[in-house]
Symmetry: C2
Subunit: 180 residues, 2 copies
DNA sequence: CGAATATTGTTGGTACGTGCAACGAATGGC
DNA sequence: GCCATTCGTTGCACGTACCAACAATATTCG
């Protein structure tokens, strides 16, 4: 325990894992398999994103933020932070970067003097479109090797998984080392 | 173009997107859906990992590295870096962190005086096991809501997708703004 | 063998990502 | 009008990430 990371050690060891579906070997196997596959998937996609996005003079996080601003219209900083699962300070700095590059704008909130309304500029929307097209082209090349039913199933199932995971997280479904 | 990120601008605009499977609206739709779903999935899982792993006084990257060392036995630094899709300097620093915490060790390579052989310590293996169990428990709780066939399919398809993506990346399937 | 070349890992430099705590400004309840 | 709350920014500390340069060792080839 040399460095005490901020997010560190709210409780080091769970006394006993909370309410598991208990003995279901099938479930356990599926979970392990999924865990392994997800880890690989995330590692490789993170790399891909770094590689593909950074050459547009924009970071991956900035790209995600830009995407959110384009897709979900004007957002307050808190909204954006929540959507990205980031601290508002982090979100603020990411917006700093986007603003510096002229890709996003901080506007006044009509009804709340404290809040800011973030939106993408024309240039931001254009860039986002270009990057999106490139990633999509990548994805198409990758998917072309799969049978149509398989790739359709992939998209659907991953969507369901993402939604379920998001719901879990948003429901506070267990922040770090749960305090019950 | 204020800040010139290292990985920036090897070529700003692709002259014309290389060899797409061209006109297949089905494929395009699936790709777009998958893209969207993956983005959400990765965002939420990254958050989960940060939240779950960091409270063990270890960073997400360090955890991935530790996992690789445990699962794949002793590795050289280059091997580890390749596995994690990171620069060797980054990998070296991550190992610094693990070593400082007594979770990994740098050993001499029997056949090559330049190389180091990285391995996890007992403590490292134990920690990795504990974290793995927690993540797995999470995963099980999440999967418990799905029908058995669905969750099995999820695990399998995500595995296939990850493999395909990894193969693409490793084949140099298109580094940033491809130079042809 | 010995010199040139290549590879391995570390370090310096730079910039961004990330969270927490503390802060000023504005809002809202009373 | 005052106090508590909320919004966003900033200070701080550290991790992540790249590239470039370097020392130490291996390898190739004359």
């Amino acid at each position: 325990m040399t460095t005490t990371h901020p997010r560190t050690a709210r409780r080091a060891t769970a006394p006993s894992l909370p309410a598991l579906p208990a003995a279901d070997p099938e479930l356990a196997r599926d979970a392990a398999e999924l865990q392994q596959a997800l880890e690989e998937l995330i590692r490789v996609y993170q790399f891909r994103d770094r590689d593909r996005i950074c050459c547009h003079d924009i970071s991956v996080s900035q790209c995600y933020a830009l995407d959110a601003l384009v897709q979900r219209g004007p957002l307050t900083l808190n909204d954006l932070a929540a959507h990205l699962y980031l601290d508002k300070s982090t979100a603020s700095r990411i917006v700093d970067g986007l603003e510096r590059k002229g890709l996003a704008r901080r506007g006044a909130h009509p009804a709340d003097g404290r809040a800011v309304l973030l939106s993408a500029t024309r240039a931001g929307a254009r860039l986002r479109e270009r990057i999106r097209d490139e990633l999509l082209a990548d994805q198409m090349r990758l998917l072309a090797d799969f049978e149509p039913e398989v790739r359709r199933a992939m998209a659907r199932l991953i969507g369901r998984l993402a939604s379920a995971a998001a719901a879990r997280v948003e429901a506070g479904g267990g922040s770090c080392c749960r305090v019950d």
